[in-house]
Amino acid sequence: MAEACHRERLGVAPQATRQEIIDFLLDQAASPSHHGKLEPCDVTMVAGNPGCGDVITVYLRVDAARDAVARASFVGEGCTISQAAASVLMERVQGSPLGEIEAMDANEMMEALGREVVASRPRCATLALSALKGAVKAHRSQQLRRGAAG
């Protein structure tokens, strides 16, 4: 329960002003959590638009026994919102069951980041989540293939 509450609190404070939200996002982008390549990892997933726009690469190592995130990290380039979102997400998901990630939706990210500020850029705000969900999906596919191979 305490851990779930802690996880829910990760992100901007609910009563934050617009300027506080902006400062929070700027801080996250300037000093991102869980930033860097993860080696070894089970899955690498890239999302975004190379050449024009934001790109996020997510690295995922899975705790197979618990079907949970053993560790996740990211690297990326792009706007403040996309990089801050990746940082906030990575902080949230360490140790999380994969099912929880599969159930996460865009609204949760928008609330965690400060909807008032990021509402005009929903794609930037949810890019890291898309990449992470893609990584979990790829992991599931790997599991199925290994299962089928016996």
């Binding site: 999302a47 638009n49 050449g51 024009c52 726009g53 403040t80 005009s120 898309s130 893609g134």
Partner: protein, 313 residues
Amino acid sequence: MSRYANPDVLVETEWVADHLADPKVRVVESDEDVLLYDAGHIPGAVKVDWHADLNDPRIRDYVDAFGFAQLLSRLGIGTDTTVVFYGDKSNWWACYAYWVFRLFGHTRLKVMNGGRRKWTDEKRPLNREVPHYEPARYSVRTRHPEIRAFRDDVLLHIGSPSPRQPEIRLPRKHALVDVRSPGEFSGELLHMPDYPQEGSLRGGHIPGAVSIPWSKAVNDDGTFRSADEIKALYEGQGINPEQDIITYCRIGERSSLTWFVLQELMGYPNVRNYDGSWTEWGNVVGLPIENPSVERATRAAAQAAQRPQTGTM
């Protein structure tokens, strides 16, 4: 050494610094990163969010004339105000906003050379104070639709070919400049998985396009290259002022920088920006596409099929 045909459309940071208090000048920041302005901006500058302020919320098009006039009025920009744009990414979005303002007929427009980066590299002041100007009277007068190309304009421009025509050549004196990266041009790069909204179902380029990435027209510090360098760059690839030229990229912002370089700086008389760009062309059913990466893969597969099969009994 040549000069730009219209040097007055470009101003240096020093000029901007000297005109911060000029009531006839309005400095406008337009960025890809929507939070940069809030992090600190040129004192007195206002923000134009290309997405929220210039685009219609329902259809893929710009706001209408009334919406544009309301925006400029709110920003304290009158019809005789000189608007100076600057921004991130070597002024991509600054040039895009400039192009949209020109589309609606605003005449006094400039771009600050080097953009936001040069201003900060020179350690010039930034502040977070959002200025509030007296609303100005503004009405859209003479628009300039001739600087914009739509999808059907581009199809006509390349000779209205059948999509399965084996070879497509542009009509004489027509040119098409693809300003994306070589990987996007060749079809190797598409949108990434699970992020399809700004991507395309098909990779490649519009038949007849020449690949001249936007970045070749700017220096490493974000300033525009000299007139001689720009002339050599484009004429070296067969692009010259006698042509009817259309530029495009993915969503029209990088190509608006190239439009600015060719039409505004170099004075090429006939340049249009195709803002639908590849996110439109690469998604429309039945439009012709050249995709070197698919063509290479098809040739490789055909060659592999012709090799003698080996095996064991």
